[in-house]
Structure formats: structure tokens, C-alpha cells
């Protein structure tokens, strides 16, 4: 009860109030229908707003890395830049190209956006801000996020353009390879956490993040997950499907207007999704920092709303991804596959075995120092 009053900024009260108000006046069916629609609208709104914020942040941080100012003309510090961009891209004409596979050409952006939207829905944004809490959440996220590659391959194939095709094939090779590493890295943590459900995973990290709980093995899994997540989103040093110096723009060369906007949006949201899954699985998700025995400190930490914790942790990881992106040169395709199949995958396989040994022999931090973590 005290906890309820002490978290005035959480959405918990609002959501329960809405639910009881609806239930008191209508039947179960209509309550669920209205709530589903509200959740969907909320998620879509969050999707586009987060994408706009990310685009602005990306352009600003990129500029700072290159000793520039970045957008600073539209509004103070250019904060309305991405709003202006969105309006522009909505007003642009969608150019129909001759001799393309029309159905697939129009279907491809939707595959991209739907794949990232489905993943987006399963992310726990905060306490009670979790649309779908599957008991196999990790598996669901890995499975659904890999649908996006179908969109990329379709876009490359249906454009009837050699650059698009080469870009799509590179992207396919890259995605299939790195999906493996990302999956294995998440499995390492599933071994540690003993569950695939995101809410249980977060609850399990109340006093000790998974990143520290499995010490060496977790750290390796974390780094591998970040690398392969980077590669999956076609960013940073792994952006060779879009290598503009060789392939104009890769698989989305022939797209214009909002169709291009979908690819663009999905790319940024995928970056956010990778960062937020890493946050949830490795860094304790929306759970505030809690320390055994320091009850006052824990209480103060709970005053900061859980979604602020979530977005702060995710923001740090997104910054890390931008930092990496502007530090390293683009990999060649053979170097890319070398890195995955000769380094990341073997290390990952050994890492899972090490993690199993750590868990079975009780060498995790929670087992070693039960009172402390």
C-alpha cells in the first residue's frame, strides 16, 4: 500500500482505474475490445514518437562525433527537425517503377514494419507497461524479429535492380549468420535466469543484474549480443547491405516516399528494440537499482518511475551503438562472415557450456554471496 502512494508517476493507478471503470459499465467482450484498441493505438503512437526522438538523437550525436552541430535551424537546437522530416516524407510521392514485381514491391515495407512492430509489442517498458507477457518471451522476440529479413529480401528481389538485389543478398547472409549469435547469447542468459518470460527475468534481477550475476560468461554474452544485434539492424560497421559507395542505398534504392519511410522507421526502431531487449535481459529492465539491506535507498530509487529507468538504460545502449558506428570502418563481406563463423559462434558455444557449469556448480554471484546480491 505504501508503495502505491510512493509511486505517483507510475501508470499503474491509471490503468487499473480505466479497467475497473470499463468493467463496471459493459460486458467482458467490449471491455477487452476497447482495451485492445487502446493498447494498439498507444503502441503505434509510442512507435512513431520513439522513432522521431531516435532520429533526432542520432543526428545530433553523429554530428557531435564529427565536431559539427547537427540540425539546429528548426526550432531551438533543431528539436522540430524530425517532425519536419516526417511531414516531408508523408507528403512525398510514391514513385511507381516499371517492370517491378508490384505485389511484392508494395508488400516488402510492411513485412519490415510488422516484424519490428510485433517485437516492439513484447517489450516491457515499465511496471505494468507490458502489452504481451509470453512465458516464452525471449523465443518469441527472436522468432518474430527475424521476419524482417523477408521484407529486405522481397524488396531487393521485386525492385528489379541489381544494386537492390546485391544489397538484399548481403543483408540476408548477414542476418542469417548473426541471428544465430544473438540467439545463443540470449540462450546463455536463459540458462542463468531459468526462465524465458521477461517479467520473471526482470523480477529475478532485482538485486543483481544478469550482466553481473553470471560474471565472465554474462559479460561475453552481453558483448556478443550487442555485436550481433548491431549486425542484425544493418548499422554501424555492418552496414554493407546499404553501402552507399557501392550500392547507392542497397535494398531500398527504388523506394520513395512513405515506403522508404517504413524502411527508415523500422531501421531505427530495430536499433531501439535490440537495445531494449539487451536492457531487459542483461541490465534488469525497468527495475530500479536495488541493494540488499538499504531499505531507504531502495524506496528512494522507486520514486523514479520504472519507465524512466528503462529508457535511461536503453538510451545508454543506443549511445554505445552510435559510438561504435562512428568509430569503425565498414567490414568487407568476407570479414563480416569471418567474424561471425570463426569468432563469435565458437566463443558463444563455449560460453553456453561455461554458463551451464557456472549455474550448476553454484558460482553465480547470488549463489556465492547470498546476503549481498
Amino acid at each position: 500500500m505504501i508503495l502505491n502512494y510512493s509511486q505517483p508517476l507510475e501508470f499503474t493507478n491509471l490503468i487499473t482505474w480505466l479497467d475497473t471503470a470499463l468493467r463496471s459499465s459493459m460486458s467482458e467482450f467490449w471491455v477487452l475490445l476497447i482495451e485492445f484498441v487502446l493498447v494498439a493505438v498507444g503502441l503505434l503512437a509510442a512507435y512513431s514518437v520513439i522513432a522521431m526522438i531516435l532520429i533526432y538523437a542520432e543526428r545530433k550525436i553523429t554530428a557531435f562525433f564529427q565536431a559539427r552541430f547537427g540540425p539546429n535551424r528548426v526550432g531551438k537546437y533543431g528539436i522540430w527537425q524530425s517532425v519536419a522530416d516526417v511531414i516531408k516524407i508523408l507528403l512525398k510521392e510514391i514513385i511507381h517503377i516499371n517492370r517491378s514485381d508490384r505485389f511484392l514491391f508494395f508488400a516488402a515495407p510492411f513485412f519490415m514494419i510488422i516484424a519490428s512492430m510485433l517485437t516492439f509489442g513484447a517489450i516491457p517498458f515499465g511496471k505494468f507497461l507490458h502489452a504481451v507477457d509470453f512465458n516464452i518471451g525471449v523465443l518469441y522476440v527472436t522468432a518474430v524479429s527475424s521476419l524482417g529479413i523477408i521484407g529486405v529480401l522481397l524488396a531487393g528481389w521485386s525492385s528489379n535492380n541489381k544494386y537492390s538485389m546485391i544489397g538484399a543478398m548481403r543483408s540476408g547472409a548477414q542476418f542469417v549468420s548473426y541471428e544465430l549469435s544473438a540467439g545463443f547469447a540470449l540462450m546463455t542468459i536463459v540458462v542463468l535466469a531459468g526462465t524465458m518470460q521477461f517479467s520473471e527475468m526482470i523480477e529475478g534481477q532485482r538485486y543483481c543484474w544478469n550482466l553481473f550475476n553470471g560474471h565472465i560468461s554474462s559479460m561475453i554474452a552481453f558483448v556478443i549480443y550487442l555485436i550481433s544485434g548491431h549486425a542484425e539492424t544493418n548499422r554501424g560497421p555492418f552496414d554493407l547491405p546499404e553501402a552507399e559507395s557501392e550500392l547507392t542505398a542497397g535494398y531500398h534504392t527504388e523506394y520513395s516516399g512513405m515506403q522508404f519511410g517504413f524502411f527508415y522507421l523500422a531501421e531505427y526502431l530495430n536499433m531501439f528494440i535490440i537495445a531494449s531487449i539487451a536492457t531487459t535481459v542483461f541490465l534488469g529492465g525497468w527495475m530500479p537499482i536495488q541493494i540488499h539491506g538499504l531499505e531507504t535507498f531502495n524506496q528512494i530509487m522507486w520514486y523514479i518511475p520504472s519507465y524512466v529507468w528503462f529508457f535511461a538504460k536503453t538510451g545508454v545502449l543506443i549511445f554505445l551503438s552510435l559510438w561504435v558506428r562512428w568509430s569503425f570502418p565498414r567490414l568487407r563481406i568476407d570479414q563480416l562472415l569471418n567474424l561471425e563463423w570463426k569468432y563469435l559462434l565458437p566463443i558463444n558455444l563455449v560460453n553456453i557450456v561455461v554458463m551451464v557449469i557456472i549455474v550448476l556448480t553454484g558460482l553465480t554471484l547470488t549463489d556465492l554471496f547470498p546476503g549481498l546480491f
Binding site: 562525433f65 564529427q66 565536431a67 559539427r68 552541430f69 559510438w323 561504435v324 568509430s327 569503425f328
Partner: protein, 177 residues
């Protein structure tokens, strides 16, 4: 065995070099921004003195310039940008003398090669770094460089000039030594 060693040493060397790269970009993140925000920074804008933007003919406080209307600049101009119109006048002691009437320079045709300034025997013209030369019509690009009612500067007597020059040379030589 050595190949395994190579594999691991290569791995750790790679990680080390990546970390070095990231530390470099981290430092770069905090460096001063080099962007020049032009219309706002007009007061503090630094344009190099050597930047050639506008041909001028310096006039002193008596509205006198150094151009003798010899026309060498016009002959040396590769584009026919300069047009020197001269007039003949009779001086007080009855000599005929060529003086400058109008000196026109077409900014629209100039390639800023500096040949006119280099070849001028009396250093009468020079390029300034005032670069805001945009105008709305082409005819405004043609400028007259000599001011209204300006005269040729009368040179000081030759003997004193040579004396000062020679003393300058001496002092310079002394400095070098």
C-alpha cells in the same frame, strides 16, 4: 599449436585496437565544434588576407591613386575583365600626359587569377577579401574602381626614394647578418 596461439593473440589484438579506436572517437566527441554559422558569426568571421574576392584600387586621404593608366593589367587579363580608359591632358609645363579616366572591372568574368595585381608596375590595384559580392542584376557586377574626381598620386622626388631604399637594404642586410 601455433595456429591456436595465433587465433587467440589475433582476437585480443583486435579487441585492443577496437578499444583504442573507440577512445579516439570518445575524445573527438568533446572537441570544439568547427562549424561556422555564417550569417550569425559575421562579426567574428576570419577570412584569410590572401583570399581574393574583390579587385580594388586603394585611394589615399587626398583621393589619389597610383594608377598610371598604362594598361598592363588589361593586357594581362586572360578574360578581358579589365577595361582601362585613358585620357590625354596637357600639363602646366606643356607636356602631353596620359591619365586614367575610368577603370572598369567585371566581377562576373573575373577568375581571380591575380595576374593583374602581379603585373601592375605601380602597385595600384589589389585584391580584397570582402567576399559578399552577390547582386541582383548582372550589370551591377561591372564596377568602376577609380573614385570620382580622383588623381594620380605625385611621386616624391626620385633621389630621396633611392636613398631610403638603399638604407632599407643596408638595415635588412645587417639584420640578416
Amino acid at each position: 599449436m601455433s595456429s591456436i596461439l595465433e587465433y587467440f593473440s589475433g582476437l585480443f589484438k583486435g579487441i585492443k585496437s577496437l578499444l583504442i579506436g573507440m577512445s579516439v572517437t570518445w575524445k573527438e566527441l568533446w572537441t570544439k565544434k568547427v562549424t561556422q554559422q555564417y550569417p550569425e558569426n559575421r562579426d567574428t568571421l576570419v577570412i584569410s588576407d590572401r583570399f581574393r574576392a574583390e579587385l580594388t584600387m586603394p585611394h589615399d586621404e587626398n583621393n589619389e591613386h597610383a594608377c598610371t593608366a598604362c594598361g598592363i593589367c588589361q593586357m594581362n587579363c586572360p578574360n578581358g575583365t579589365i577595361n582601362v580608359l585613358s585620357a590625354m591632358i596637357e600639363t602646366e609645363d606643356g607636356k602631353k600626359k596620359k591619365i586614367l579616366d575610368t577603370y572598369t572591372w567585371d566581377l562576373g568574368m573575373c577568375t581571380f587569377c591575380n595576374l593583374c595585381v602581379i603585373t601592375c608596375p605601380s602597385d595600384a590595384i589589389k585584391f580584397e577579401n570582402t567576399f559578399e559580392n552577390a547582386v541582383f542584376t548582372r550589370s551591377k557586377l561591372v564596377q568602376q574602381l577609380n573614385h570620382e574626381g580622383s588623381k594620380l598620386r605625385v611621386k616624391p622626388p626620385k633621389s630621396t626614394e633611392s636613398v631610403t631604399k638603399s638604407t632599407e637594404c643596408v638595415t635588412k642586410e645587417a639584420q640578416i647578418k
